[in-house]
């Protein structure tokens, strides 16, 4: 759409010569091409959009992680089997009972086949004098159950640690020991692995046995001691027995635990070469995946990077669509109010004045708290409450355009009002609208993230940059990456959009620059 009429503003004489005869749009594009900062900002935003669009591909093919959209604390249970999950909740989260849902198979797509009997015992995790705690997780598929022998004693220290029985908490005397992991429960069983440990009073040691999915082959043992605060050791242990009793059920089921229960976490890599230290938060099951998590995992073992990308999908699409809605409404009402004036103008002004006398965040909070909307309705709410600023701008601009000669002449030759509005006024609003759009998207990202941060916008398990920070305060000591990256994404995106808005404004009208 070429801008045929209107006032082209030029920086100086040089520019006047260079761009003589060009339309406003051509001129703006030419100026933009020389504005490196804005170009970089546009590039960054485009990259972010692309990354979030291709989040599923990046997640599966490049990162090689699977990010379940539901809470992914998973366990596999054979029918009739009993699994015991030991959770060490963070001391801030005293578990108040767990909600357990059993689904057909692993992942979010599983059909729910009913709730299982779940029993939560609160147990004080206190260590005896001279002992320390050790977690043993046996995560190999098809591998036999094993026992742990301490310093080649005849009797097993811990017998029959079954496959996927998750974390077994052992109390081990302080000092240097050799732990032998043997098949079966007797001292003559095949040695699966040996582990030299140096148990300190303040360490909680974790050993994880990895096996090959076919059940045979090497079994690697990785162990890592990590120090814990003494207060963490003194927390309640929620001991959950999940009993899968249905005989007609599929072979394995997936247990999803819908509670904020936390496990002390470590990352492991399968080949044993590197222990990824960055991911402070993985669950025991994530240790089975044995993946490298570029930005670590969150408290539920989900890959942080892919979650950031999915969150970007939601945050960006909400901001873009809400901005478009509010621009359409704002421009329409602004043109009408500015063009006709009179009663319409007064009503619009009163409406804007009324709603502007409340902080926008408060209105949004009230609406969102009462309506409890999904993402689609949230877009509508944000869009319907976001048009005041652009409306005021467009109204002012229309007022000034209306007084110009070409409008007067168009009226004089009897052009219909609709034609004047669409052909003569609207194209001249283009620069105002485009600039406002860029700034609007930035502001909407901020507003949406604030709402989601406060727990009112996008609700988990869906991720948005805002709600990924909701529990951030609990990760200050354990997983700083969970606090830093979502906020960094918001800041970079909004900053780039502001830069783009400024750059566009300068491109359309350099006289506005101060």
């Amino acid at each position: 759409m070429a801008v045929r009429t209107g006032v082209v503003k030029l920086k100086d004489q040089d520019e006047a010569k260079r761009y003589a005869g060009q339309s406003l749009l051509q001129l703006a594009l030419a100026r933009l091409r020389r504005d490196t900062l804005t170009l970089v900002a546009i590039g960054v935003v485009l990259i972010l959009i692309l990354l979030s669009i291709f989040a599923p591909v990046i997640e599966k093919d490049i990162l090689g992680v699977s990010y379940s959209r539901t809470d992914p604390v998973n366990a596999f249970l054979p029918p009739g089997g009993t699994a015991r999950l030991v959770y060490l909740p963070d001391h801030r989260y005293r578990s108040q009972g767990l909600h357990v849902v059993v689904t057909h198979d692993r992942g979010a797509g599983g059909r729910e086949i009913g709730e299982v009997h779940a029993e939560v015992q609160q147990r004080q995790l206190t260590t005896k004098e001279g002992m320390a705690n050790m977690l043993v997780a046996h995560t190999s598929f098809g591998a036999p159950a094993f026992s742990v022998f301490l310093n080649d004693q005849a009797r097993p220290f811990a017998a029959r640690i079954a496959q996927n029985s998750m974390s077994n908490l052992l109390e081990i005397p302080i000092g240097k020991h050799t732990l032998t992991f043997r098949r079966g429960t007797t001292a003559d069983g095949e040695v699966l692995a040996r582990l030299e440990v140096d148990i300190q009073p303040s360490t909680l040691t974790t050993a994880v046995l990895f096996g090959r999915p076919d059940g045979g082959g090497e079994i690697a043992l990785r162990a890592k001691a990590f120090s814990v605060n003494s207060r963490d050791l003194a927390v309640d242990t929620a001991r959950l027995h999940v009993i899968h009793t249905s005989t007609s059920a599929p072979r394995t089921v997936n247990v999803r635990i819908l509670d904020q229960v936390r496990i002390p976490q470590i990352n492991y890599s399968e080949d044993g070469s590197t222990v990824v230290e960055r991911g402070l938060f993985t669950t025991g099951i994530s240790a089975m995946d044995a993946r490298t998590y570029v930005l670590g995992t969150d408290d539920l073992g989900r890959d942080h990077l892919s979650r950031l990308l999915y969150a970007g999908q939601i945050s960006l699409s909400i901001a873009f669509s809400a901005a478009i809605i509010s621009i359409v409404i704002g421009v329409t009402i602004g043109i009408i109010a500015g063009f006709y004036g009179g009663l319409i103008d007064d009503v619009v002004n009163l409406t804007i004045a009324t709603i502007s006398s409340l902080p926008t965040l408060l209105i949004l909070l009230i609406l969102v708290a009462l309506l409890n909307p999904g993402p689609e309705v949230l877009v509508l709410v944000l869009g319907l409450l976001g048009w005041f600023g652009i409306c005021r701008l467009v109204r002012g601009e229309t007022l000034s355009i209306r007084a110009r000669e070409y409008i007067v002449s168009a009226r004089a030759i009897g052009a219909p009002v609709r034609r004047i509005m669409f052909v003569h006024v609207l194209p001249n609003l283009l620069s105002v609208v485009i600039v406002a759009l860029a700034l609007d998207i930035g502001n909407l990202i901020l507003v949406e993230s604030a709402l989601s941060f406060l727990g009112f916008g996008i609700k988990p398990p869906a991720a948005s940059w805002g709600n990924m920070l909701s529990n951030a305060q609990t990760f200050f000591t354990k997983g700083v990456h969970l606090v830093i990256f979502p906020g960094l994404m918001i800041s970079i995106t909004v900053l780039c959009l502001y830069i783009i808005g400024d750059g566009l404004r300068d491109a359309f009208d350099p006289t506005l620059r101060r």
Partner: protein, 346 residues
């Protein structure tokens, strides 16, 4: 002057009236209506439910309910007591400052507000002062040293502060000063939240707990700081370009006298118009700041009421916010007119 003030107050009445209508409609639109949570109590018998619904008048058309909320129902002999005798209602209506009882706390809304007002005022005023105390000099100096490194870095900083979500700014500050940087006692340098040190006694006076105030003040004042500095820079540039400044320079006055005695005094005048938006901004930011820092103010109370769908509280918060903002705008208009004789009261 008195006439002008009176007119501004009268002008704001329709706005306030519309706000009350808006608050009422929004709350009535809520799924199940405002009393759904009250009537859901499983301990109630069906008769109780009918009685409560009748007492609250939830089955009446909403204009009547709105009127009751506005002016009370003590003039209406509507409710029947146990013997079937009609008796007057006990609500006075918000026009007589009766905002009803909180569903959750079961206490008068105004009492709950009164308890929290001090904390919010303390935080809001200090954030405003912080923003002014830093923003004004930064803005003036940026204009004086226009184009310098200081000017450019301050402008970049202002854009960055606007782009960083303030809840994340708060989180990062807590992380930095509450966790990473240790004080002499081995704990974080500054407390991670709340208004007072945790004691069972009452809060000590403000000067003994300034360390609790620093971080929330910075977070809440950050946006204002960026706004003020940018605004004052523009205003100062306007002033510097005017003829009387050139005259002052031509007279041979020192640069410093010209800038600060002649320039800054006039550049500060438009600041008066900022009071209204500033109150709205501080109030809007208080929700987030108070939430992050566990600050026991009205913002946090509001969020709790929203989570619990405590309708009387929500409606009262809406009305109070509107009053606070409108009063702020009126005061700033009046201030502006008082300070700047070029403004006429018409």
């Amino acid at each position: 002057m008195a006439k002008y003030i009176a007119r501004r107050i009268v002008q704001s009445i329709p706005t306030l009236f519309l706000i009350t209508v808006l608050a009422f409609i929004i709350v009535s639109l809520a799924p199940g209506g405002p009393t759904a949570s009250l009537l859901l109590d499983p301990n109630l018998t069906p008769q109780d439910r009918v009685r409560i619904a009748e007492q609250l008048g939830v089955n009446d058309p909403w204009p009547i309910q709105y009127l009751r909320w506005l002016i009370g129902d003590d003039w209406e002999w509507r409710i029947r007591d146990n013997s079937g005798e009609p008796k007057p209602g006990n609500r006075l209506g918000i026009l007589r400052l009766d905002f009803g009882y909180s569903f959750v706390a079961n206490r008068r809304v105004l009492d709950l507000f009164g308890e929290r007002l001090g904390a919010t005022l303390e935080l809001g005023i200090s954030a405003l002062l912080f923003a002014l105390a830093l923003g004004v000099p930064i803005g003036i100096l940026s204009a004086v040293w226009r184009g310098s490194l200081f000017d450019n870095s301050m402008r970049v900083l202002a854009v960055i502060i606007n782009a960083v979500p303030n809840f994340w700014l708060g989180l990062m500050l807590i992380l930095l000063f509450g966790v990473i940087i240790k004080g002499p006692d081995g704990k974080g340098l500054l407390p991670m939240g709340s208004r007072c040190p945790t004691t069972l006694e009452a809060c000590p006076p403000l000067h003994e707990r300034l360390n609790h105030l620093i971080l929330p003040m910075i977070v809440l004042g950050g946006g204002g700081l960026a706004g003020y500095s940018r605004y004052l820079r523009a205003s100062m540039l306007d002033v510097i370009g005017q003829d009387y400044i050139r005259t002052a320079r031509a007279k041979g006055l020192k640069d410093r006298t010209v800038w600060f005695a002649h320039g800054a005094r006039n550049a500060l005048i438009p600041l008066a118009t900022f009071l209204g938006p500033a109150i709205a901004g501080v109030w809007g930011g208080a929700f987030i700041t108070e939430q992050i820092f566990s600050w026991p103010g009205i913002g946090r109370l509001t969020l709790q009421s929203l989570t619990a769908l405590d309708y009387p509280m929500i409606m009262a918060v809406t009305v109070f916010s509107a009053i606070a903002t409108i009063v702020g705008f009126i005061i700033s208009d009046i201030l502006y007119a008082l300070i700047d004789p070029r403004i006429r009261f018409n």
